[in-house]
Symmetry: C2
């Protein structure tokens, strides 16, 4: 194989496939990048067995061929080569990178051992703008679980009903839901995509409103297709949690509050809570005023925020980090919170129904 | 005590004294900030016993007084207070921070236990621009030692002779020297200032060419005075290393080389050296060409750089990180390297003599 690429093009493409290269693995073959050059197309592939990425690189093919290289070393050298042009040449034993007056030889791996990406049946497909997909993920990914023993909680539920895409994440203490209208209607789909895949997707897609992503689904896999790249990922199998009952929308007390003031107040309160204590905050909601009072071994705090309240007074205790993480991904300046009683989950939602964030409280009698 | 300050002023001043607040200490009293408000002056002090910082804060004193607070918690709350104005009020048991509708109470510590900064005799003094002082430190601090068993190597030698300031640092493998002309002449001074103090100074001073620093010296301490701040530090005691003999300036071979090309070449070479190996690079210098060849378990590299050479050919081996760290702080595009033989230290210096960087080589017969 002999190909010639610009440094910038090669850096960009390699950085994309690096997202699917294993860093901690017992299978060293997964720490590689496959370079294939056939029929005027140069393609890079990374595959960590859960997620695989293929991307095309612009360049000139002088001689067709395939080579498997150690990913990290290859990427570092590509980034640090002296000239704007890089020649990649390979034989059975080594790959040679040439740039300016620098020449580097790296060992190659057995390309036949590298796992090929599975084929996907491209029947079920939706199209969404890169910007919208990235926003949907960013606004829900904070409430997935990192605990691998509840595998379904480590992913996000993607549901398509007609022209609506609904994304749900939950970790047993809270739920995040975002809904968006698609440009077209599609047959129903219900799959759980691993959180790791979604995190990497948000880093790779350019995020333009005009740029689209095609997402294909089959029984076991999902495939994202955009620009010159495809990202393929296994789905998480199993029946997702039934949460409709928690989302009836019934409430007793509704308050309207400035989001930044509430965030700042919780942010200060967490300074007085040692990480080891996991002490909740208590909100005391009365006519026109939300009051946060906190006493800890580190100090005391007392703060009032003006609100608009409908319904009875209520006191409720919860982990402030959960609410702060929700507030961080809500763009509205003013938000509505809904409470049933001090033992039932409370939630934030907007009138259009494009988001719902639900938090399970801590029992008040355990706090006071 | 009762004072009123703007949030921005308080954040700025607190962040300065935080540099002298202990984070890892067996003496919790050193994790504090002393706030003193007397005679229209509000002063913050931090002191970790090696370095002490005092800075003035603009503000209104409603009631004079002194209070000692836990530094980290105080700083975090000051940064996160909701309003632009912060009231600090104290009694014997607590300090109360008020800002907007937020009120926070923190415990106070016994102010009598806080160590006062030592007095310094302000007889020996020099004046230097903040910009120059910061540059002198930045360009030499990389070659101090972090090994506390050679205490003198953890500091930098500051020598004043007439109107010249010379700063020297060394770690047993290399030496960095910078010289600069001062605006006035001063009596001779020779002291070793701790590297930690110098590092913190570069973070605090604004670095303007028009802004001066006064530096006072006595037998045991050094005091930097600038803007509304003083930084006091213990000196490192002892006789500094005699290195004049190594700096005779004699050489056999001189080369002139592009700094960026040499840096890039070394940077690529280090990719092929595992941290655990500490393998040196070998430069092969012949007429017009510097060649770097490297073979390691990770791969091979071969690179030529054009040079101007005077004197005999030479091969020399050394730790590439040392030379890279020197090149990073040299601003010239083209530099001169001087070699005696493959066993003697080689050095970089400019014609004006404002810098010398010396590196001890690795024995060639141990490499090849």
């Amino acid at each position: 194989m002999r190909i010639v690429c610009t440094k910038s093009e090669l850096v960009k493409s390699t950085s994309i496939v690096m997202k699917a290269v294993s860093t901690k693995t017992t299978m060293p073959i997964l720490e590689s990048i496959l370079i294939e050059s056939y029929n005027d197309t140069i393609k890079l592939t990374g595959n960590d067995m859960e997620m695989g990425i293929e991307t095309l690189v612009k360049g000139i093919i002088d001689e067709e061929g395939t080579v498997l290289v150690e990913a990290k070393m290859f990427f570092e050298f590509v980034r640090k080569m002296p000239s704007d042009e890089i020649v990649i040449q390979s034989n059975d034993n080594q790959v040679i990178l040439k740039s300016g007056k620098s020449e580097v030889k790296l060992a190659v791996k057995d390309k036949n051992e590298f796992p090929v990406l599975p084929d996907i049946v491209k029947s079920n497909m939706i199209t969404i703008s890169q910007f919208t997909l990235r926003e949907m993920i960013r606004q829900t990914i904070h409430s997935i679980s990192t605990n691998e023993s509840s595998k379904l909680m480590t992913g996000e539920l993607f549901e398509i009903n007609g022209d609506e895409l609904k994304v749900t994440s939950l970790d047993g203490y809270r739920i995040s839901i975002r809904k968006v209208k698609l440009k077209e209607s599609y047959p129903g789909i219900k799959v759980v995509i691993p959180g790791k895949t979604l995190n990497e997707i948000t880093k790779i897609i350019s995020g333009g409103i005009e740029d689209d992503v095609n997402i294909y689904f089959d029984e076991k896999n999902v495939l994202f297709e955009f620009d010159d790249t495809i990202v393929m990922s296994r789905l998480i199998e199993g029946e997702y949690y039934k949460i409709d009952q928690m989302l009836s929308g019934d409430y007793e007390t509704k308050i309207t509050i400035n989001k930044s003031e509430l965030f700042g107040c919780l942010d200060r309160a967490t300074l007085l809570i040692r990480d080891s204590e996991k002490k909740p905050v208590v909100l005391n909601i009365t006519d026109g005023v939300l009051r946060l009072e906190l006493n800890s071994t580190l100090g005391a705090m007392d703060e009032d925020i003006e609100i608009i309240k409908n319904g009875p007074d209520i006191m409720i205790a919860f982990n402030p980090k959960f609410l702060m993480e929700d507030l961080r991904v809500i763009d509205d300046d003013t938000i509505d919170l809904y409470f049933i009683n001090s033992k039932a989950p409370f939630f934030i939602k907007n009138d259009e129904g494009s988001y719902i964030y639900l938090i399970v409280p801590v029992r008040l009698d355990a706090v006071i």
